[in-house]
Point group: D3
Chain length 163, copies 6
């Protein structure tokens, strides 16, 4: 049985992320979506909010689990006996950073492969920061995030605006 | 009559920005330069300083107006009946981000086209952050910003240095 | 009245080209689509076949004309009093070549601006060579070319296959 | 059981190709390396030479088969019930072309995923054309191709030089 | 006698930096490694720690000196009668930023050339921020930094973790 | 004494090439410009025409010699005791190919460094193929090639046109 992990900030999960998760679920026997703690970033959603939102989006994917991790991804992959890290590729700048991470993770855990997938064209240019930017100005984010988390994202930014 | 908007931080306006504004003014009947409020950035110049500096640089362009906006650009373009957003392209990394914005703006306002222009070669690699970096160390910024705002930029950084 | 020219090989015209032509037709008063003779390439379709196919695809666009040209584009643009060359941008490698052409054309004809547009996401990765490759192997090209020229392209490659 | 196909010209197979094939063999239950006929290219090795050389390089990989195909890859993948196409990524220009192919193949065969892997750093910049260029001038190609095909490549270029 | 300067943040120096410094030392008669003060960044190591760590790594290179500078690099190069700035190139995004800096420095000091070198493949994707990220999570950084500074980096992050 | 070689097709030499040669001549004690025979390309000018044109353009550079070579560059550099290959960098696509060549040459000749320089902005986008394209259509190539070879290039394309 091949296990893959799908790491990210998911702040919040977008239709682009979900598209990549669905593809990974077809390629691997078991997929663990991992919300990674990034100390440098100031997320809009708490870790448990982010885990919870993804869980609600993947109920139709029986071989997908959701988890969070604070530490080296290479070590986490080892613990879970994962064969692969799955990443969605959007653009050239993504590609270079992901390349660097892939080579580093391979050095830290030689049995761990990084696998890159591409989202569908119309979801390829989506990003969480774009979603937050549009939401912050009251724009319509329905085309960008899964319907089941739409109220969460709208709520978060309405509340923030009121502060 | 075709209206285009030319958005940016313009912190401060550079010869590269001015070059793109002049080209836009030849292509469209009416051009609105819009200083966009970006909550994530800490600008060196206030919004009104930035608007004022651009105004002084475009007095020779009768079909160019200067404005500022805090909100979604796609909505602003709609209010102004603009057909196009005009952006200068410098480099590959610009290109990818601008691509993402262009596709997002088109989804938020389907009648809105993003049009990319290239500056003259010798202005292509200019950026506001470069100007600020050179000015902060007392370097000569005369080749990089329009002459009419040179004292403003030098003044800002001299004062800041004295603090 | 602003005139723009839309140059290319169009061997054959794709849905991606048509998308860019339609956008150009909204931005400019008059658009001339120009099939450019490229001596280095061995086109699948003759010059007049290519012109004819485009003409049939743009009948719904009253301000669009179709022409062909063998020579410097900058000179052609001058003759037609065009203000702008319009090009669709797909990817980073396009971007660099187009950049070089834009700077060269500007030097040969200083009043001529090159304007870059982006196609809709789902048409962004289309190219004529891809269409020909799929057609050559008997694949379905209906998603890639305008319906009105589909028989022409299928015919061309059926005949070629029989030779 | 998940089947992946690994397509390419392999003219000749390099250490970089072999590295990607070995990674694919760890990720999927069955891997079919497919030498693709490309009518535009003039290969140095015949189709059967290329298939034979790869076969000798993958004898240590029990779940890897070698085949050749003249036609649409998406159709071939369908016949073989393959879930994925595996491609090695080297550089930005690779990335864009592969992107385009991945989106096209997905449209021609919606169940077919393209998966990108990265070779080890020291094999990342290898290419068949580089190998041929070095061999043509009598340079040492031992660091670039698997030892078991070294005589074949040297032989080919010695003979060609004598003609 | 040709003098080159090798500027950077070196927070901390990595095997990739050292590789580029060694190459520069073979190309130029005298090389000055300069730790540049960057007000925007919050370095993990103090300026004197960074200078000291580099000094210990270059004891085998008799024509290499280490210095620090707070100000315009172009002016510093002028004071030192340097002919060239030497920079290591890793990736496309590096390339664009470095291009911009090279053109700016040339304008500020016309006699100053920027020279780009590439590190060995297996050091090409290394960066100080990657080292810090791995160290912060207790990962093994021995493959990434020179052995003589390994205790310094481990110490710094152990202490920081205890705070 | 440090020797550098400056390889290229130079078909014909452009102002961009000359700019890079002049920079190399300031950085190194001796520079050998080498016209490299590329069997895949069909040059417009013969090898001796190309060597002769460069010679006439570098008479003001006493430490620059011009030569031609048919074979591996790494071997040629070894014979000439060259420390470095100097290449001008224009764009991202250049960068990747040059990277690959630099790593290959280093493997074939470990003492050989590849050094990248950038041309002046207004010469950065020049290429020999662009010059030939403009000349073939009777466009003005005076801004693109050194004045001393202008008649040679015009002559070549006038004659070719008459054939």
């Amino acid at each position: 049985m091949k296990t893959a992990i799908c790491p990210g900030s998911f702040d919040p999960v977008t239709n682009g992320h979900l598209d990549v998760i669905e593809r990974a679920a077809r390629l691997f026997d078991r997929v663990i979506v991992v919300v990674v703690v990034n100390v440098d970033k100031h997320p809009a959603f708490t870790l448990s909010e982010r885990v919870d939102m993804i869980r609600r989006c993947v109920t139709h994917l029986p071989n997908v689990e959701v988890d969070s991790h604070n530490g080296l991804l290479a070590a986490y992959a080892g613990e879970k006996h994962a064969t692969a890290i799955v990443k969605g590729l959007r653009a050239v700048s993504d590609f270079e950073y992901e390349f660097q991470m892939a080579l580093t993770n391979r050095r830290l855990n030689p049995g761990l492969e990084t696998v890159f997938l591409t989202a569908t064209e119309d979801k390829m240019y989506l990003s969480s920061s774009l979603v937050k930017q549009v939401a912050a100005y009251g724009g319509d984010i329905a085309p960008f995030v899964p319907a089941c988390i739409l109220p969460d994202v709208e709520d978060k930014f309405r509340k923030d605006g009121e502060q």
